[in-house]
């Protein structure tokens, strides 16, 4: 999650609140140090595919 690219659209938070949190200005950060728990991969993909700022990416383990 690149905080410099985030403009606070909150799309990730609305689609995957299990993986993201947002501050009062809407700027998002990842939960669990950015690790995607098992079974949450689809939600992570959905968040990536809906970010208008292309601020989220996934690093394969």
């Amino acid at each position: 999650m690149d905080p410099d690219k985030c403009e606070g659209h909150n799309r990730c938070f609305s689609l995957a609140p299990e993986l993201f949190e947002v501050d009062e200005f809407g700027i998002a950060s990842t939960k669990n140090n950015g690790e995607v728990p098992k079974g949450m991969e689809d939600k992570a993909d959905l968040a990536i595919a809906n970010c208008p700022e292309f601020a989220i990416s996934i690093l394969e383990d």
Binding site: E7, E24, F54
Partner: protein, 419 residues
């Protein structure tokens, strides 16, 4: 040219468009009832179109161009974000005021570095956490509107009896102004964003009404502070300084104007869509969980808002050289139908997974109220679908759409089957 309204340059009202690439008209009623085919043609033939109408402007239709332009800050300045430019008289007033106070409606009409502190001033009003606290109020409001609709039915107007009624009351609730005056607020905002676009006198009249109203609200709170957004703005400091009344009024003006026409249009467009697509209607009744993706998809397809930028220095986009003083229309709605970015771009796909739509803009001017708009759409649609058994738009071709800055249904007769 002979019948043009005073003060509005080159509107050529009533003069038909022959070539949209060189002479588009964002106020054309046919364009505003179904702009998709025109954008499709322009995207292939002339992706950054130009027109001399309405003061002259460039209009991109491709997603990548719109994105790049949104990020070209502040070479593309937000100092004059109106799609239809002000009359010469109003332009003079604005130039003087901006010289004295920095920006008329910050943060929307501010560039960096002024933009950020103002945006951060209002963002906490619209964070997901704050927006959650407005839910019960909004839900109660939606239910009471449906009560009235069911009583009035079976023929109702989806635009004026429902969609129009929610946003002014919700934003009034947040700002801290009298919700029972919602009809007046709507009239004022339409005076600015709709009728006032092509009529300089109306625009000036409603601008004065809104500014005077908020001045009065400030004076009231100076004597007795309250727990509302106006009082918060009066307490706020930017770089150690309190805001001037002019600036507080500007921010409130923006909250009111941006909170009404836009969301009204989104809710109305969603009802238009379901009221003209029986299969989609059936699917949502059967699978209400689809609302999460469906709302984003409806925002993509029916994006209501266009904004404008002013070119400050020579800059090139897609091989086109723009000059200082040129205006650019940020065509977020057309970007959202770009087939390079969206599969089946001209179709509404209720469960679309990949959807980087920019209905709320992109970059630093991302709509501050996007969470609020999304929540209002969510509640408006869920309550509607919960309480109304079935419905349809009576004559889709006769629906009247607003255009220019904000596009949405303004007259939309519907038939409903109550609970």
């Amino acid at each position: 040219m002979s019948d043009r309204k005073p003060g509005i340059p080159n509107s050529r009202e009533g003069c038909p468009v022959h070539d949209w690439a060189t002479d588009y008209d964002v106020m054309d009623p046919i364009y505003n009832s179904d702009p998709g085919p025109i954008w499709q043609d322009l995207r292939e033939r002339c992706p950054i179109a130009h027109s001399e109408r309405w003061g002259g402007s460039w209009m991109p239709t491709r997603y990548e161009d719109v994105r790049e332009m949104a990020r070209a800050v502040p070479t593309l300045s937000s100092r004059a974000p109106g799609v239809i430019p002000p009359s010469p008289e109003m332009r003079e007033i604005l130039i003087q005021e901006v010289k004295e106070f920095g920006a008329e409606l910050p943060p929307i009409s501010a560039d960096p570095p002024l933009h950020k502190p103002f945006k951060q001033l209002i963002l906490p009003l619209f964070s997901p956490k704050a927006v959650d606290t407005y839910r019960p109020f909004t839900e109660q409001l939606a239910n009471s509107l449906i009560d009235q609709i069911i009583q009035k039915g079976p023929e109702v107007d989806g635009a004026t009896d429902y969609a129009q009624q929610l946003p002014p009351r919700v934003i009034a609730h947040i700002i801290g102004i009298d919700e029972s005056r919602a009809d007046e607020f709507t009239e004022w905002v339409r005076g600015i964003l709709e009728q006032g676009q092509a009529d300089a006198e109306i625009r000036l009249k409603y601008r004065r009404i809104i500014r005077d109203f908020f001045q009065e609200m400030i004076i009231e709170r100076r004597n007795t502070p309250r727990d509302d957004a106006i009082s918060r703005l009066m307490e706020a400091e930017i770089e150690g300084e309190k805001l001037s009344d002019y600036t507080i009024i500007g921010v409130c003006f923006l909250l009111l104007v941006a909170g009404i026409d836009t969301t009204w249009s989104s809710i109305g467009s969603a009802l238009f869509h379901f009221g003209t697509n029986p299969e989609h209607r059936k699917r949502i009744y059967a699978e209400p969980n689809l609302f999460t993706t469906a709302i984003e998809e409806l925002l993509r397809f029916y994006s209501p808002v266009k904004m404008a930028r002013r070119v400050l220095e020579p800059i090139k986009f897609g091989g086109i050289e723009m000059q200082p003083g040129d205006k650019v229309i940020m065509n977020f709605p057309a970007a959202n139908r770009d087939p390079q970015i969206f599969d089946r771009a001209e179709e509404v796909v209720l469960d679309r997974k990949q959807n980087r739509h920019i209905a709320f803009g992109v970059g630093i001017h991302r709509c501050a109220g996007s969470n609020l708009a999304r929540m209002e759409m969510d509640i408006a649609l869920r309550v509607w679908f919960n309480r109304i058994k079935d419905f349809e738009v009576i004559q889709p071709k006769n629906v009247i759409w607003s255009g220019g800055q904000v596009r949405g249904p303004r007259v939309m007769p519907m038939k409903i089957l109550g609970a």
